[in-house]
């Protein structure tokens, strides 16, 4: 059986490459190689071309898989980086408020003991920087400041109420204090579920309005009542200051929470992309397998055609010689 005929029967490309001058294009193959080499040569070359095509397909598939795998590694690294970023912004990460202050004092004390003031200055700067970037520090600061603010508000209101008794507006002031405290309790305990925030706010506003009415209806105060009132107002001012700090810390903490969500979104993006790449790799492998299987079948069909042709030719020759 005639098998693969090498390039002898393969003339220059019958199809011009893209961009080639039209004058050089040969649309049909030259007749000589086919007629002189016979049909078996054409079949052999076709067989060889199919084998080459098969190699190209496999090589192309391998290149695509390698490229996708490289990209997948990058996505995996991105995902891990995003998850690390999300974890670093969690409220529990970093040194807490007291831990940061303790660390700062410890460093300063150690440096002072060694008489190294420049290192102390550096330590102060780095410890402050670390604290400012620590979610746990800001979380603790907000919680602590809120606690101070609430206690100060309640105590300040109580003292003002006590002072108001001397001014004849005690009943209203007491009611206002009760409303304010109730508002704080409702907000903290969330005993009314999701509506607690609004109920608490309403009670606090009513308490503040009551305090305003009590102040407005108060008659002339004694010196002692006036002093007590000033103390109450001072405590309330401290509470106000603490609330300012808590508000600022709340903004920073919201920033950390947003960073967590952004990092989670980035991680999700990397996960999605990684999954797409993984499936692309599976599909490329499937395609190469299917393509390879088809090449095998096509090659078998071609082999059958070559064999059938050879048998027919041999039989014809035998028949001619018998008759002759």
């Amino acid at each position: 059986m005639t098998f693969v005929a090498p390039a002898r029967a393969a003339p220059a490309a019958a199809v011009a490459p893209a961009g080639a001058p039209a004058g050089n294009v040969t649309l049909v193959p030259e007749g000589a190689p086919l007629t002189s080499g016979g049909i078996d040569d054409a079949l052999g070359v076709l067989y060889m071309a199919m084998a080459q095509q098969r190699d190209i397909t496999v090589a192309d598939g391998q290149a695509r898989v390698k490229s996708a795998e490289r990209e997948q590694q990058k996505e995996l690294a991105d995902q891990q980086a995003a998850l690390a970023r999300a974890q670093a912004n969690e409220a529990s990460q970093g040194r807490g408020f007291f831990s940061s202050i303790g660390h700062l004092f410890s460093d300063v004390a150690r440096d002072a003991a060694h008489g190294d003031l420049s290192k102390a200055a550096n330590d102060i700067a780095s410890d402050v920087h670390e604290a400012l970037n620590s979610p746990a520090f800001w979380s603790d600061l907000e919680k602590g400041a809120l606690f101070v603010a609430k206690v100060a508000a309640v105590v300040g209101s109580a003292v003002i109420t006590a002072a108001s008794f001397g001014a004849g507006a005690g009943t209203i002031a007491l009611a206002a204090l009760a409303l304010s405290v109730s508002g704080e309790v409702v907000s903290d305990t969330r005993c009314f579920g999701s509506a607690s925030q609004y109920i608490g706010l309403g009670l606090e506003l009513a308490g503040a309005a009551g305090g305003f009415v009590a102040g407005a209806t108060a008659t002339v105060m004694t010196v002692a009542a006036r002093t007590t009132l000033d103390i109450g107002v001072g405590i309330s001012a401290v509470g106000g200051g603490a609330e300012v700090v808590a508000g600022g810390a709340h903004v920073v903490n919201a920033g950390f929470a947003a960073n967590v969500e952004n990092a989670t979104a980035d991680a999700q993006e990397a996960v999605n992309r990684g999954a797409e790449l993984e499936r692309t790799i599976d599909w490329v492998i499937d395609d190469v397998k299917a393509s390879d299987k088809m090449y095998q079948e096509q090659a078998q069909t071609l082999e059958g055609a070559i064999q059938a042709h050879d048998h027919s030719t041999a039989a014809a020759a035998a028949s001619i010689s018998v008759k002759g």
Binding site: A18, L46, A216, G239, E243, G255, N272, E276, A305, S312
Partner: protein, 209 residues
């Protein structure tokens, strides 16, 4: 034996594409002659025509499945992007809600501090009340952004669901491509057996002659 279109030339310009299929028609700019499949389909040999038609049908099925799969993949990618966008938007809403709440608290706190200054209790109480009211307004404003956060979550979930659906459809279409490949394989098997039988018959006829 109508097997190969020899006029195509033996130089590797046969219409075998990298994906293992054969090209159809006369679409190639440099190809003036019909491709082997078309030649086979018009050869007049019933077996060859049947095999060629089956292969063409398998190719068409594969092309349709491939196109549909590409569409589903595009949908999946788009929905994944929407999911991530919704998560980023939620992050922005968390930040904005936090700013409103924080500013509200700070304003109330500042009002509490400023209440020390006026000599009149009435003015001091009015300042405090104003601070409380400002905080209340800020809480209401932040509630809007918290509601938007919930919307973002719902949007992200919906996008994830749509993406999963598209992924499932794309996987199913991968199976459809396999079916198309099986059809082509069956056609080639048939043609192989057909040509063998035909060659045997021809040989027998020649011997008899």
């Amino acid at each position: 034996m109508p097997t190969i279109d020899a006029t195509r030339g033996p130089d590797g310009t046969v219409a075998v594409t990298p994906d293992g299929t054969t090209s159809t028609g006369y679409s190639d700019a440099g190809t003036a002659l019909p491709d082997p499949l078309t030649t086979l389909a018009l050869s007049g040999d019933p077996g060859a025509e049947l095999a060629a038609l089956a292969v063409q049908s398998g190719e068409a099925e594969d092309a349709v499945a491939q196109e549909a799969r590409d569409t589903e993949v595009a949908i999946e990618v788009r929905e994944d992007a929407r999911q991530v966008d919704a998560m980023h938007k939620k992050a922005g809403d968390i930040r904005t809600a936090g700013i409103w709440e924080g500013v509200g608290m700070a304003v109330e706190g500042v009002a509490g501090v400023l209440a020390v200054i006026p000599a009149s209790n009435r003015v001091a109480d009015a300042v405090k009340l104003g601070g409380k009211a400002a905080n209340g307004g800020a809480i209401i404003a932040s509630t809007f952004y918290k509601a938007t956060e919930a919307d973002d979550d719902a949007l992200a979930d919906a996008a994830k669901s749509a993406s999963d659906l598209a992924k499932g459809a794309a996987d199913d279409l991968g199976d459809a491509r396999k079916s198309a490949g099986d059809l082509i394989s069956a056609a080639l098997d048939f043609y192989r057996e057909y040509t063998s039988a035909q060659a045997a018959a021809n040989t027998a006829a020649l011997h008899r002659a």
